[in-house]
Subunit: 273 residues, 2 copies
Amino acid sequence: MSRRTAFFVSDQTGVTAETMGHSLMTQFEGLEFRPVTLPFVSSVDKAHEAVARINRAATEEGLRPIIFSTLVQDELRDIVLTANGLFLDFFGAFVGPLERELNIRSSHRAGRAHGMADLAGYTARINATNYALTNDDGTGGDYAHADVIMVGVSRSGKTPTCLYMALQYGVFAANYPLTDDDLEAGTLPARLVPHRRKLYALTIKPERLQQIRNERRPESRYSSRQQVNYELRAAEAMFARYSIPSLDTTECSIEEIASRILNTTGIERRLRP
Amino acid sequence: MSRRTAFFVSDQTGVTAETMGHSLMTQFEGLEFRPVTLPFVSSVDKAHEAVARINRAATEEGLRPIIFSTLVQDELRDIVLTANGLFLDFFGAFVGPLERELNIRSSHRAGRAHGMADLAGYTARINATNYALTNDDGTGGDYAHADVIMVGVSRSGKTPTCLYMALQYGVFAANYPLTDDDLEAGTLPARLVPHRRKLYALTIKPERLQQIRNERRPESRYSSRQQVNYELRAAEAMFARYSIPSLDTTECSIEEIASRILNTTGIERRLRP
């Protein structure tokens, strides 16, 4: 199978171009893409450099690359358009229809999507991140300020989900790992009782959890089938007993977990991506 | 100024639709958008529900909403297309040209962009996140496994940048906050010396740092102009003395900091968004 180079060309970070390109490429599963991000293409010189890199890849591979572009400035776009590749023009495709619908000309200024927001937005994000860090793994316990408190057994995905929600959405997410004592008691840990309505549980299939724990501590009690089965059964019984909404993370990415939680709980985002 | 509702409609998390919509909306600075994400529109029923919500917004506001769609399945797209709004069809715009270029039909299967990747990818992401957490703020200090070690004064953006690089790119990013002792000595902290080539410095303008520190500890020595000026001057002198590459984060979002670091250092990503 021949390989194609995919260029993500942007006048800013390239995050939007990568997201867009990645979404499209997943629709062509058999093909192998070599991804190359060209961020900060914000001058005529850099646009010419980008063209040279794309043309070199085309010559070396004997196949023209795919160019996912989020360039906004007409001048720079017109230069990169001359490269030997399939130019997919994100702004070109949608800015026109939007301008007609809104009856207003867009600014056509270099990408502002991932630039610095106002101080309030920045502070919200940093505060949420610090909150997640200091209320991780049952430490801290400032649950009064939580938007959501994740519960679940060790390695069910709580910590990365909390951090992702903080960075992506500015949401205050704490997490509480259920201890052996908690699981044995079968009752909600006393510290969580006053915040019961903020709880959200993560579960996971035993085979998958064993796999994940094995990567961390191979052949330990922690990663044994028996222990994993016991913890998950006890945890799920607790979630059912207290009607805690829960999500099986076995087949979920962190983005998906976060998105499903926000969607089902209706928690307000403090930030937009 | 009249307000428009912007719907982000997706058969998956909606992350791609939001990123795309947000990028475009920032080009229309004067307009106010009310963002609504409709994720997991993955059945005919849910598609009809989405149409009903969009039409309700159109009626209530007297202006038809903008619909940023990443729906892939023709059947669902055809339903949402009937809603009273401007339908911006991400897949429709680009999948056709890609199919012709690649000479292959795409799968047209529900979004896979933010679904579960393979276990290896998941593990890389989690390992990078755990690495960032345990090598934060000078604790840990497993610098041998770092891809990059961020240095800078308190609140220059090190921690969120490290976490973002871990979650977004699977990069192992440690961070070391320069202490008063370090700054006074003016020499590279002994623990960092063997890893000098991995260092990357964050700087920030004094006014901005004061603003950020003030949010945390108002009217403290920590947030005083004198202390902030002293720390930044001493830190920048150290970065210059040891030729540590540095970035001024004053006007940068976290995405931008991360992207610039990867771009200038050439660090390999272990994950694609």
